[in-house]
Symmetry: C2
Subunit: 372 residues, 2 copies
């Protein structure tokens, strides 16, 4: 019979595109003995998660909770609930996650219009407005923080245009939430999703989501069943809310503990202070990387502080250097995806992995490897 | 700003239909600092999970892993990957989870034939064989351990009939795996799913699954895309297996740690010893409950040891007694679902919650409450 080794992973500095490091208080929360998922004490924890997520998303939306899957399940929850076969969707694509949105919409049987921008650049709002003149989408979808390229997408102007066209505005905030400001209500966002393993610094496994009353109204008027039972919001709503909780699935109790504690830590630090910390450490990293000859993929005004995409200088071997960082220094950084594979690194400064010391150890290790 | 209370849940004895209690070694595993989900050390852990799950399912199937969602996501994974619109499915229904299978199959656009049995009784193999004469299903689905009723479904005879009819045999083992024997290969099962929070005694959040080469062949011949991106096995296969792992989603790292440690504990105890422990404590509970005037819903030969469904004796108030058990004794037991609500209790003896002491404290508490 197979004898599995003791679980004994090496302690790592997690500076890739996620998961980020997790605060000891969150690890301790994960080790808390479980209560049942219908226990009144667990319902209090669910309520706390909902209230704290509303503060993070800056929304009043009643329908705000965490889907029992990773950020990708959050994406799918939005698409399968908002779209019915034959509906139109306008999707903005400037990286891997915009492409994934298209794949999701197609699997819902939606007709699609794409607005593309080159990888590393934001979507031009003018092109979206132009497209809205030639199609009549039910949903307009865009990525706030494109994890594959490091682009931060301005959203203020877009929300108005999308609502003006009578469409629902769907936004991916997997990498941005908890690291830069996300203002769901102010920006006119109708559906939003995120993940726990980026700037929230909880382990991967839950997907915070929120839906505006307009989005709920559209869902209530569906004529077909949602194609996913697991992600059907008409069922999940009675499990996560309402006077009497109705059994749907069994919520991941320990993951909810972790998210609860991670959200408490975020609110204790304060959102403004947290965003400022991300900007500050990003600036420190940027200066150090530029000194070493790295160039950023994204123009300064559209750079994400928590996801630094840089071109690998000539003479540095992508795989070899990342392997040395991991093996000799216990530092994980991310390689490039798609067209960027082998040419770009993605260096994360997310949540608990966003400290001055993280920046220092990475820069020092790179200097040593590069002989500088 | 909202100030959430400290996370401080009461220690409970979890004797409901799941989650069950979790071993301290598994809690400790959950508190282990994270490595990245593409870290070679995490891939070793994924490989360990796959190997140990094969031993638990008693299968040689290459495609054996854990879906990043709860048992219900495991169910949906099986249905959306095996069925295409217009396919036929034969579904056996004798409780809540058989009904849920029908809901899943309908959302896949499948044509459905049902074989029903009254709640509390197993499905009669003769009726399935009869039905197979009048329809030509691609998939025949059945629940091994019906968590809503406590029925243990004999499967040996059925597998042969299903394969004889050229169909794939799909089985729900959410509540049975790790508590009674599950012999995937011997019983001719082609697709199987389970959950972590029952007899595996890990927290809820992952769904072990396995697929036979026959099932994989059928999936490879699909002419339509799987309707779920998140659960699409053609994508998940390259993430969980193959020479080079291809990024799909971010696996719940801490949950994988927990499942890894829970599986190690199970194999250290030994499957036969573990099944015997479940039978032994079930017998002790049964004798005690019958002495107190409880009657089992299910006939002795079809009873599940880990899920004891008993009729609530006249004069005992369902909600009031369960509330007293929880508040005064910190013991959670389960109420009835659907037709059984208010009339039946479901008492779990699963994994770490299946000890002689658990049986003793529950019986003693009931005696006190009933004045016996």
């Amino acid at each position: 019979m197979f004898q599995a080794n003791e679980l004994n992973p090496t302690a790592r500095f997690l500076m890739g595109p996620g998961p980020s490091e997790v605060h000891p208080r969150v690890l301790k929360a994960m080790a808390t003995p479980l209560v049942g998922h219908l226990d009144p004490q667990f319902i209090e924890i669910m309520n706390g998660v909902k209230t704290m997520l509303r503060q993070l998303f800056r929304t009043e939306n009643e329908l705000t909770f965490a889907v029992s899957g990773t950020g990708s399940a959050g994406m799918e929850t939005c698409f399968v609930n908002l779209l019915e076969p034959g509906d139109e969707a306008l999707i903005c694509v400037n990286g891997v996650f915009g492409n994934r949105m298209c794949d999701n919409a197609a699997r819902c049987g939606a007709k699609m219009t794409r607005v593309d921008a080159p990888w590393g650049q934001p979507i031009d709002p003018v092109m979206v407005k132009q497209a809205l003149k030639t199609c009549k989408p039910k949903v307009v979808a865009i990525v706030h923080a494109e994890t594959s390229t490091g682009v931060r997408q301005p959203l203020e102007e877009l929300g108005e245009a999308v609502r003006g066209a009578g469409a629902l505005f769907l936004v991916d905030t997997v990498t941005s939430l908890g690291g830069v400001d996300v203002r769901m209500d102010d920006w006119g966002i109708d559906a939003i999703y995120s993940g726990t393993q980026k700037c929230l610094s909880a382990p991967p496994g839950l997907a915070p989501v929120s839906f505006s009353p307009r989005a709920v109204e559209v869902m209530d008027k569906r004529t077909t069943k949602v194609q996913s039972w697991y992600l059907d919001l008409s069922l999940l709503r009675t499990y996560w809310g309402g006077a009497k909780r109705v059994y749907h699935h069994t919520a991941p109790v320990s993951m909810a503990y972790a998210l609860y504690e991670a959200l408490r830590l975020i609110l204790e630090e304060g959102l403004e202070a947290r965003f400022e910390r991300h900007e500050r450490n990003h600036a420190l990293l940027r200066d150090g990387l530029e000194e070493l000859g790295f160039e950023f993929v994204v123009a300064p005004e559209y750079r994400l502080p928590m996801l630094n995409a840089v071109r690998i200088p000539k003479g540095l071997d992508d795989a070899a250097v990342r392997a040395r960082l991991l093996d000799e220094y216990n530092i994980e950084i991310g390689g490039g995806l798609g067209d960027f594979a082998g040419r770009v690194w993605r260096i994360g400064l997310m949540g608990c992995s966003c400290t001055v010391n993280h920046v220092h150890i990475l820069l020092a290790a790179l200097r040593q490897i590069m002989g500088r």
